[in-house]
């Protein structure tokens, strides 16, 4: 979904265009201390990428918050004091030693639900973000590399999906596929969310297409698919990572929005559905604002953390955007 947040990372000027980044790409292909195995080399590259992102203070904050949510989701059964579906407690209880955040209108422990809710949000965020990035990469790269009549058609389609309001489209599809559960939400988010990344990656491909190494690869007789995915793709790793986090952010927000409208799988505990039930049971009027506040804050924090990580991811391919010194 083209979100309102004009993401600062994506509005930045094309990063690869400056000579600095070409050097960065070079060092990815030929590291100074080459590891022996392929796996080791990949590990080295990943480690260096992580260090670059970590060096950015904003991204560091984002990584810490994101890491905490990931741990919370993984260890939910250990962290949560009760099962999120256990409704054997008193109804609408205020916070107490037994129930730190109180209980819901159905008598469930709010804290446990908040902890388990991280699972749904992260799952939808990562899976839907990942899938829409895959679609964006395939479409964006082939669209930027290949020339021909199909170009105009794809251009038109992408622009259509970019300007079309995503949420109403999601609501309509979700309404038809009612009770489709999480796979339905993921599908809907992917359908509406791939266009932005495809466009960003396309313009990058176009600028890389005329580079010497691409010309050399074409002359050496490589197939188009190989040129696109083996020669061009590795140079766009940071952009792909950037569009992944962007897509994951909008996926998290979209999931919460749909669940809030009661269009998600209401049997699973997610932050959006918690707010839906809280609003249904008039939590504001009964003074239980924590029921609305806690899950919403988690959504906002998760979304912010991924936006912050993107500040650092930007620096991967564009050293000018790196903060601090020594790199």
């Amino acid at each position: 979904m083209a979100d309102t947040t004009a993401d600062p990372t994506t509005t930045a000027t094309p990063a690869i265009a400056d000579p600095e980044s070409a050097r960065g790409a070079e060092s990815v292909n030929g590291p100074r201390r080459p590891a022996r195995t392929r796996l080791g080399r990949t590990g080295q590259v990943l480690g260096r990428a992580f260090a670059t992102v970590w060096a950015n203070p904003k991204a560091r904050v984002g990584l810490v918050i994101l890491g905490m949510f990931v741990l919370m989701a993984i260890f939910a059964p250990l962290l949560a004091p009760y099962s999120p579906h256990d409704d054997s407690f008193g109804r609408n209880e205020p916070g107490s030693a037994a129930h730190w955040l109180g209980t819901t209108g159905a008598g469930e422990d709010v804290l446990s639900q908040v902890i388990y809710g991280a699972r749904v949000s992260l799952l939808v965020g990562f899976v839907a973000g990942g899938l829409s990035t895959v679609v964006a990469v395939v479409i964006g790269l082939s669209w930027g590399y290949l020339r021909g009549w199909g170009n105009d058609v794809v251009n038109f389609l992408v622009n259509l999906f970019l300007v079309m309001p995503g949420l109403p489209l999601m609501i309509i599809i979700a309404a038809y596929l009612q009770n489709g559960g999480l796979p339905m939400i993921i599908l809907v988010v992917v359908i509406t969310g791939w266009a932005w990344g495809a466009r960003v990656l396309r313009s990058q491909t176009q600028s890389l297409r005329s580079r010497d190494f691409v010309t050399a690869a074409i002359f050496s007789g490589e197939s188009s698919a190989r040129v696109v995915f083996r020669e061009i793709l590795p140079n766009m790793t940071s952009m792909i990572a950037g569009s992944f986090f962007g897509a994951a952010t909008s996926a998290v927000l979209a999931e919460s929005g749909l669940s809030f409208l009661g269009l998600g799988d209401m049997a699973t505990v997610s932050w959006g559905s918690m707010i839906f039930w809280a609003q249904n049971s008039m939590a504001i009027l009964t003074g239980q604002w924590i029921l609305l506040f806690a899950p919403g804050l988690c959504i906002a924090l998760l979304a912010t953390s991924m936006t912050l990580v993107n500040f650092g991811v930007d620096g991967l391919s564009n050293p000018r955007l790196r903060e601090g010194t020594g790199r």
Binding site: M1, A2, D3, T4, T5, A6, D7, P8, T11, A12, T13, F156, N159, L160, L162, V163, M164, P165, G166, L167, P168, L169, I171, I172, I173, A175, Y176, L177, Q178, T249, L253, S256, G257, F260, L261, G262, L263, I275, Q279, I284, L285, W289, L292, F293, G296, I299, A300, L301, A303, T304, T307, L308
Partner: protein
């Protein structure tokens, strides 16, 4: 002129694509939405053949010729005939949409323009005073606020400004006792009720404009002509507004078109929270009652409005930047 005509052609093509998408979606779905809709409608009383034909044209008849359905559907859309709503039986869908659309268009439109102007101004200030608190405060606050889910901001605002402080009414578009007319009193009442939804949309959408404007402005500030203007001894404000901002605003305006879809989507959720009688609230009602004809018509209207707004922005862009007209 050629630029405007080309954009107009593109608009017509996009509108056609949106209308067609609206036709395709219900037909791709498992089961038969049309049968379900007619069955539901039958609970309210006998279904007349013309109503049945309208619904089938919109939602699809199993076994009918797709091409015939498409022609009927296009014809119905052109005449704004979307059948009968069964949530609000026996009202025409087109009447319901016409009643809700102005509320959303005026409120969201006004707030979006305000947010754009305000955000752009703050962005200019942030870029000009780069590195000071005037830069970091709006940037950090902007990125945090724009990560807020719209509906959550809405709920917080309802709670604090509506219930705790009691400054503003929490639902509806005007007082239950007021009779809609064109008096100042009524307009004041409408503005008073629009305050909370408007503040919500303003808060959540402002951050994007600030960040976008700041980033393009910083790029522009590095250009030679800005340095030259400064070296000539022009006043700081003149350089910032007349030289740098004037060129930085164009890319931000392109973002306007794309962000609009998101703002409209978010405002649908906001309307739900405030029970604001606009398109979003109606859409929510339609969805909970599985009122497919109403849903489809609303989706079409929202999309068409966004596409039209985008078209206007592009024309404006052409007026502002002569280079695009070539």
């Amino acid at each position: 002129m050629r630029y405007a005509l080309r954009k107009l052609g593109l608009l017509v093509l996009t509108l056609w694509a949106a209308v067609t998408l609206n036709f395709v979606i219900p037909r791709l779905m498992p089961g038969s939405p049309a049968d379900a809709a007619i069955a539901k409608l039958a609970q309210n009383g006998p279904v007349t053949p013309s109503v049945q034909a309208a619904i089938e044209a919109q939602l699809g008849v199993p076994g009918g010729s797709i091409w015939d359905q498409y022609v009927t559907y296009l014809n119905n859309v052109i005449h704004l005939d979307f059948g009968v709503s069964y949530t609000f039986f026996p009202q025409q869908v087109s009447e319901l949409v016409a009643g809700a659309l102005p509320w959303t268009l005026i409120m969201v439109g006004a707030v979006t323009v305000i947010a754009f102007v305000l955000g752009t101004l703050i962005g200019i200030g942030a870029a000009w005073k780069r590195g000071t608190w005037m830069d970091s405060l709006p940037t950090v606050a902007g990125s945090f606020l724009s990560a807020f889910p719209y509906f959550w901001t809405a709920l917080l605002i309802v709670f604090f400004l509506g219930y705790v402080l009691g400054w503003f009414p929490t639902s509806g578009a005007y007082s239950a006792t007021a009779v809609p007319n064109l008096s100042w009193e009524f307009l004041g009442d409408v503005l008073y009720h629009a305050a909370l939804p408007a503040i919500t949309i303003l808060i959540t959408s402002l951050g994007g404009w600030i960040l976008g404007m700041r980033n393009t402005m910083i790029n522009t500030l590095g250009d030679d002509y800005v340095t030259f203007a400064e070296a000539n001894g022009l006043r700081g404000r003149t350089v910032a507004i007349r030289y740098a901002a004037r060129n930085a605003i164009l890319p931000n305006l392109t973002g306007f078109g794309m962000a609009l879809g998101g703002v409209v989507g978010g405002s649908l959720l906001v309307e739900q929270v405030f029970a604001y009688p606009g398109v979003g609230y109606l859409l929510f009602n339609a969805v909970t009652n599985q009122d497919f004809p109403l849903m489809q018509a609303l989706f079409l209207m929202i999309t068409v409005s966004v596409l039209l707004a985008n078209f206007l922005v592009e024309i404006l862009y052409g007026v502002l930047d002569p280079r695009t007209r070539r």
